[in-house]
Symmetry: C2
Subunit: 469 residues, 2 copies
């Protein structure tokens, strides 16, 4: 039998039983107690170490439950057979995420993905959050409906009908933690073997997601009305991903005729679907918002995706997908078991936010704010120069400058950066090696820039691009 | 030219421009204005209708932007060519989610998936939530790190090291909205073409998820030590999904030797990984928690998944995955662009909850509570009968009753239900058509049942199963 010589530290931070357990475990690990060797009985060891028997029993139980020792009935405890035991050693640090690229310092950033967060309704959100978290709400922390809570889905359905012309019942809606997640979910719903057609240029995040999810991808050229359906028709695609209300990045609004052509394409063969990403249609500066394509879809061919990232805040992580009946059925059959990705508290806050009219008020406020920035930017740009035309300016929170005089995108970005202003080139939105015309096309997003900043930044751009200020 | 006869309703809820827009749109849709037909000029129409010219301009702009009319320079407005226009009609309601199964009414439910939510720390959670939502926190609503916020990942990493023996840096962690999502993400990280081996019986949710994500699946029988590695070795699997600390549903704790065998399997060929689901290891009633398999993994073969669903509440939707270095690289290469699925506010609340010691206190409280229920259930069961043995009772929040006297599972469940008690059979956790022994094995979860309920429910089970009370 193995003789244990443990020196226990009384009053140590580590309990006695754990000291005993740790000692014996290491002895077994390092082979000093070999497999099959008998260990002292708990009675013997407790006397030997002058500790209570229950302390030793506790240590042995732990060793037993981890499999270091075995108990043989009427005979006692034996070291288990442990071959090729790996030593625990700290795993090396992975430095990947630490390496931050040494970015140029910009004074102004015309990012097309900005959202003005100074206008976030903190007080309202905080109050609603407090109201949700009251004592008797155990229900709020129980697992909820996989599709999202019925109340929130009803609120979204009513909003979509009124504001976007979307026809759907709450049963057709799935709430999810962001568009990326909803595209992952949709992939799981539709299954493999699909080919998706994307506009070119397009929203890179969606492109990457489809690629990553092993979809076959093809790109379809655009004209001034959006995705060319005659080209789409010649592809093998059974899915078309479009942004008809405000194409990203071009800002194109798809006219009704093209929409109808697209819907006609979708019914020509079975199991074709259009994925409509209606990411920022809340912001439109001329007339009322253009109804969603989904509202014209009588045959159940449009899968509609919308988000609160642009209209409320990116970090609240709430988006929604409206599925036609046939996709609903697939969802219930294949993915109905997948739990919701949004916490019930967040869902309830958002539901109240919509139902109590805060969302509408917030949208009106943001629309006015962005429209103001939009108008100022346009006015400033007119002062800046004459060798460019502007497009995509009727909606959303960015516009495009098309330069005609043989100036390259790279040059415009570099000159702006040298003056502390970050601008974005259209070419980075092209996929599949396609590239835009050789003339520079520059995106300017203004959601993040207040009036003063816009004026200062355009002043710097003028200096950068035209050599005077 | 088309003659418009609109009867406008002054003072209507619908603005004048929208009445004009709607009228013309319908005329075009229904073919009463045919394609190519000229519309009156804005000046003429404004006079004709006795409204301001800007009102008509607004209506025309909306029609233009939606593509119903076209503007020809120096000539005016013409109805666009719109063939095969779909009529908008309300989409039929999808009744699927409405149909609620007519469930039997149970007085007591021994669900193995329960969590006691009466003990949820509402006050603390509410206070932390209030502290997070202060005015100057615009940063909280900006898009965060795709992996989850660095602060939360640090807190999780420290907790895992201390409580679970997991060795990892915050850079190896991805925070996600639940285990279902993390498995979806992992699938996207690893790519296609894998075969995953699951224990049988197993956690059905994981099985469904792998199946849904188009993994090849094989099942590996278990013995009393967990997944049989000798059987695993004969499969083509390159992934093994296991729950070594407390197998679900059997409650098996994998002893150290089996763990080592499993780790040895993982290094025998390149690109083999073990997915360790450590779903409820926080609750252990004998000795200290058993360290995670990940802690023994020196070769970077274990992908570790944990959740706050069991330890805090299912509806907060926060889980985490610890990736070894090689998987981290794949993650950054293939999925680094996928946005986080957890809101920053929720992440910050959880981070504070852990850092300020609330999580540890909450776990201690829950451990004591569940241990108490566990002890009472065991004591009551001993009173109930003698024709069964108990297993899986050292950890987690459920245990198993193995009946020996030829009683069938179906019979036991039915008798219990007839007395208002819901119990669960082991057979529903088997996949691939495998089935357990013909003798009944019943799962009893006790997280949701307080002392009084446990006593009453076992009393009813005694009546149901033994005919006396």
């Amino acid at each position: 039998m193995y003789e244990l010589t443990i020196s226990l530290r009384q009053g140590d931070r580590i309990p006695l039983y754990e000291q005993i357990y740790g000692y014996i475990r290491n002895e077994i690990r390092e082979g000093r107690i070999s497999s099959g060797e008998k260990l002292p009985s708990t009675r013997m060891l407790s006397r030997h170490l002058d500790v209570s028997r229950s302390t030793v029993e506790l240590a042995y139980e732990q060793l037993l439950s981890e499999g270091y020792i075995e108990s043989r009935p009427y005979r006692g405890y034996y070291a288990a057979q442990i071959e090729g035991l790996y030593q625990i050693h700290p795993v090396r640090k992975v430095g990947k995420a630490d390496k931050k690229r040494n970015r140029a310092q910009y004074l102004y950033d015309f990012t097309p993905n900005g959202v003005d967060l100074n206008s976030f309704p903190y007080n309202t959100w905080r109050r609603l959050s407090r109201e949700c978290l009251v004592d008797d709400r155990a229900e709020l922390f129980r697992l909820g409906c996989p599709q999202g809570e019925a109340g929130l889905r009803s609120a979204i359905s009513a909003y979509l009908h009124q504001a976007r012309g979307v026809n759907c019942s709450p049963e057709q809606i799935v709430v999810g933690a962001g568009n990326d997640y909803l595209l992952m979910l949709l992939c799981a719903v539709l299954g493999t073997g699909h080919r998706v057609a994307l506009e070119n240029p397009t929203y890179k995040q969606a492109y990457r997601m489809f690629k990553n999810l092993s979809f076959d991808i093809c790109t379809v050229d655009m004209d001034q009305k959006g995705m060319r359906v005659d080209v789409l028709d010649k592809t093998e695609a059974d899915l078309a991903f479009v942004m008809p209300s405000h194409q990203y990045p071009l800002g194109t609004v798809m006219p009704i005729r093209r929409r109808m052509e697209l819907l006609q394409w979708s019914v020509k063969k079975q199991d074709r679907y259009i994925i409509e990403d209606d990411y920022d249609s809340e912001f439109r500066y001329k007339g009322k918002p253009i109804p969603a394509l989904q509202g014209y879809d009588a045959e159940g061919r449009v899968i509609y995706i919308g988000t609160f990232s642009k209209s409320i805040a990116p970090a609240i992580r709430m988006s929604y997908m409206v599925m036609p009946e046939s996709v609903c059925e697939m969802y219930h059959r294949r993915c109905g078991f997948i739990n919701s990705t949004v916490s019930k508290v967040d869902q309830m806050i958002l539901q109240k936010f919509i139902e109590d009219g805060h969302y509408e008020r917030h949208l009106n406020k943001m629309r006015a704010l962005y429209r103001n920035r939009h108008d100022i930017l346009l006015a400033e740009l007119k002062e800046m120069g004459t060798d460019f035309s502007i497009s995509g300016e009727n909606a959303g929170v960015h516009l495009l400058l098309h330069f005609g005089s043989g100036r390259t995108e790279e040059e415009m970005i570099r000159l702006a950066a040298a003056n502390g202003v970050r601008v974005y080139g259209l070419s980075e939105y092209y996929v599949d090696g396609a590239s835009p015309s050789e003339n520079a096309v520059i995106l300017l997003g203004y959601a993040n820039m207040d009036e003063k900043k816009i004026k200062e930044a355009v002043h710097l751009l003028k200096k950068a691009w035209y050599g005077n200020a």
